[in-house]
């Protein structure tokens, strides 16, 4: 069974056609990296998967649930899909631990003690358990992003979405976040990552997708994608970011 299935997905922002007939099927445990110039619709596409954006035409089925207006189904999908944002979006008024326990307690009705245990488990995994009682503002960007990953993992998602998770980080912090993502990938998590970290794509991606002007232009496994791009636009883009 497909884990994420998008068929002929279309979306407009006013008159601007941001997604044009996007078709994408992701199987269980598959790791996909999406790249493309800014404004190409790559963020919008993954934001449609947990319905931060609503698509206007076509079908999106996530883990067997089709996304419609039905709030209950949207809630179901969001429980199963985690997302990591470019700007971390941690809740600044809550401690790291509270950031992580909030959803398990309020969405899954987990008792505080259990939620804290789960949170500490994942904070250990992203290697910052000692920061649990600090506030996000007291942490470095890399640490904040790792907390954001832990916060998502606390809901035990089946799919993780990454929306340019390293673009807002200082260069020396990119690696710690990528390492965390790599270890996630190695455990068999279904992942969709919008990123320009081509090293990461080479290392973990099963498929690399190139988007431009709202369309998926090219899909290939990483080696072929980087060494032998088929489309002119892909070549130009790769030329720009690799040199």
């Amino acid at each position: 069974m497909l884990h994420v299935d998008m068929q002929n997905v279309n979306k407009w922002f006013g008159a601007h056609h941001v997604l044009r007939d996007v078709n994408l099927s992701v199987t269980h445990g598959e790791r996909i990296v999406i790249c493309g110039p800014s404004g190409s619709g790559k963020s919008t596409m993954i934001r449609c998967i947990n319905r931060l954006e609503a698509h206007e035409k076509g079908r999106i089925v996530v883990d067997g649930t089709e996304l419609t207006n039905d709030v209950k189904k949207i809630d179901e999908v969001r429980r199963d899909v985690g997302m990591v944002f470019q700007h971390f979006n941690l809740f600044p008024h809550l401690t790291i631990l509270e950031n992580c326990t909030l959803a398990p307690m309020w969405v899954k009705r987990m008792p505080r003690r259990d939620a804290e245990e789960v949170a500490m488990h994942y904070l250990n995994r992203v290697r910052i358990p000692e920061q649990a009682n600090k506030y996000p503002g007291q942490l470095s960007g890399g640490q904040q992003q790792r907390v954001a990953i832990a916060r998502s993992l606390c809901m035990s998602p089946k799919i993780m979405l990454f929306d340019e998770p390293t673009s807002a980080l200082d260069p020396e912090m990119v690696k710690e976040v990528l390492d965390t993502m790599v270890s996630l990938a190695e455990e068999g998590m279904t992942m969709l990552c919008v990123t320009h970290e081509m090293g990461f794509a080479r290392q973990v991606a099963d498929r690399v997708i190139f988007m431009d002007a709202g369309q998926i232009v090219e899909v290939n496994e990483p080696r072929a994608f980087f060494e032998n791009p088929q489309h002119e636009r892909t070549k130009t883009f790769l030329g720009q970011i690799l040199h």
Partner: protein, 358 residues
């Protein structure tokens, strides 16, 4: 270095002498200010009458009228100005109530106490004060609200109205940003209507119209009606302040909450409101100070709050004509309170913006 040059140096570096323009200006304005100050001091201190012996009325004050201040009016009527007509033998009750309010304000200034529990305190303290003032329990004699007055009444009006207006303000602010057109329209209409009319007209409305709205068996006392007017108005102004806070919350916060599956109400209560309130605390406190001053308007419907009592003092034939002294005194009381609170918010604003920027 000798002492004299050290002194010269410190004088030179004082802001009023830091350059030639400043020195000249200081000399010129200083002369004027000293002259005015001296004239004021002659009126307020040198020629002033501080007390009058019993039985002579205000004759000693009348004798110096025009050249000296009559502070005797304050010493004579201090109890009335500060506590209204509350029974003399029970006056410890309004005094304790005032202290409770002051303690509440002091507690609210501590940042470590900014928790939802603080709001409960804002409901509990006025409730306690009302129980204390009203009596009829625990062997306390019962005192009707028309005898309440002075400073405790000012504290009571502003605190109770504020605590009750706050939840309404939150609801209106959320309503104004709602995507449901009916809810949005109603919130906007209410907020804009209330803000477009003078507070006095709302107080008169409450005083003369509210009794018509309820069954006649149901008597709304004047103090309660004044509270209703203040709650109605304050909630509209608080809603506007909170709206600013809501607008300042980045979209990413809503998205993050949605992505971890939080529905609307948990998101609003746990994520949105705490941040909106935190960023607007200086403005919320300023709104409170503004209304603290504006509770003085109840004097026009005949309640004896601090200003109402002062106004009543100079209606007394004995003290008629000494309004300047009475009002200067009352102004000093208001100023002490509001100035210190506004100093506090200024400092808070600096601290908060420094925290945001790093």
């Amino acid at each position: 270095m000798s002492n004299a040059t050290a002194m010269m140096r410190s004088v030179r570096s004082a802001p009023m002498f830091r350059d030639r323009t400043n020195t000249i200006a200081t000399a010129m304005f200083g002369a004027i200010l000293v002259y005015l100050g001296a004239r004021f001091a002659r009126w307020a201190v040198v020629n002033a009458v501080w007390t009058v012996p019993p039985g002579v009325g205000s004759a000693p004050c009348r004798a110096v009228a025009g050249s000296g201040a009559c502070w005797a009016v304050i010493s004579d009527r201090l109890r009335f100005i500060s506590l209204g007509t509350y029974p003399l033998d029970q006056q410890w009750r309004p005094v304790v109530a005032s202290l409770l309010f002051i303690a509440l304000y002091a507690a609210s200034a501590r940042r470590s106490w900014w928790k939802p529990g603080l709001f409960v305190l804002w409901l509990a303290v006025p409730a306690l004060a009302i129980v204390l003032l009203r009596g009829g329990w625990f062997g306390l004699s019962s005192v009707a609200t028309e005898f309440w007055g002075g400073l405790p009444l000012t504290f009571l009006l502003s605190t109770v109205s504020f605590a009750l207006a706050f939840p309404f303000g939150v609801a209106l602010a959320l309503g104004r940003r709602s995507e449901m057109p009916a809810v949005r329209t109603m919130s906007i209409t209410y907020i804009e209507l209330i803000r477009a009319v003078p507070l006095v007209s709302m107080i008169f409305m409450a005083a003369v119209m509210f009794p018509l709205f309820v069954p006649q068996s149901f008597t709304l006392d004047k103090l309660l009606r004044a509270h209703v007017a203040f709650v109605m108005v304050m909630s509209a102004y608080l809603a506007e302040v909170l709206r600013g806070g809501l607008q300042a919350i980045p979209k990413g916060q809503y998205e993050a909450a949605a992505s971890i599956g939080l529905p609307y109400w948990p998101t609003t209560v746990m994520i949105v409101l705490p941040q909106a309130v935190r960023t607007t605390i200086p403005s919320i406190v300023n709104t409170f100070i503004g209304f603290f001053k504006d509770t003085s308007l109840v004097a026009v419907i005949g309640l004896f709050d601090l200003l109402g009592a002062a106004k009543a003092v100079i209606v007394d034939p004995k003290w008629v004509g000494f309004g300047v002294e009475v009002y200067l005194f009352v102004a000093a009381v208001y100023f002490t309170f509001t100035f210190s609170v506004s100093r506090y918010t200024q400092r808070l604003e600096r601290v908060l913006s420094a925290e945001r920027n790093h």
